[in-house]
Symmetry: C2
Amino acid sequence: MIDFAKMNGLVPAVVQDDESDEVLMVGFMNDAALARTRETGFVTFFSRTRNTLWTKGETSGNRLAVRRILVDCDDDTLLVRVERQGDGNVCHTGERSCFFREI
Amino acid sequence: MIDFAKMNGLVPAVVQDDESDEVLMVGFMNDAALARTRETGFVTFFSRTRNTLWTKGETSGNRLAVRRILVDCDDDTLLVRVERQGDGNVCHTGERSCFFREI
């Protein structure tokens, strides 16, 4: 059972490349987004700003095919290991990962 | 500039082993936790349940020494690459990573 209660129905979902182990992005899933992800095999988030489900890559084609999903020790965070589709550039800026700037 | 506003003063912080690339845990940081992390060089989170800062490993000795901190494309999530100290078992259950159960 995933603990969606701690964050008003959402859990953070870390997306990691199953081959390179790069951390690609972090989104949020609600119960419906997780169900959609598992049913379709493609990573689907809940958009907090648009208040709707969205499948990563639905327009760009850079979808994220699920290999494995893990949950953390206190059941409130997901780690989704994926295979990249399309050109492999996960970030909307064209970078491979959304984490490309050091602070 | 980190966008703490989107989540009421907090951002998710993904902790990744800088050598093995394992995702170890996810916590939340507020502005003070990030400042403490950068000043001390050890990962410090804000505990939502205890409403206080806590340095990972402050009792167990399994602290997480910061190697690099990256921010994502929309400035609201951190990726902290670390070197494990102590016995290297990051999870309070004694596992190496908090993500040890597949769903």
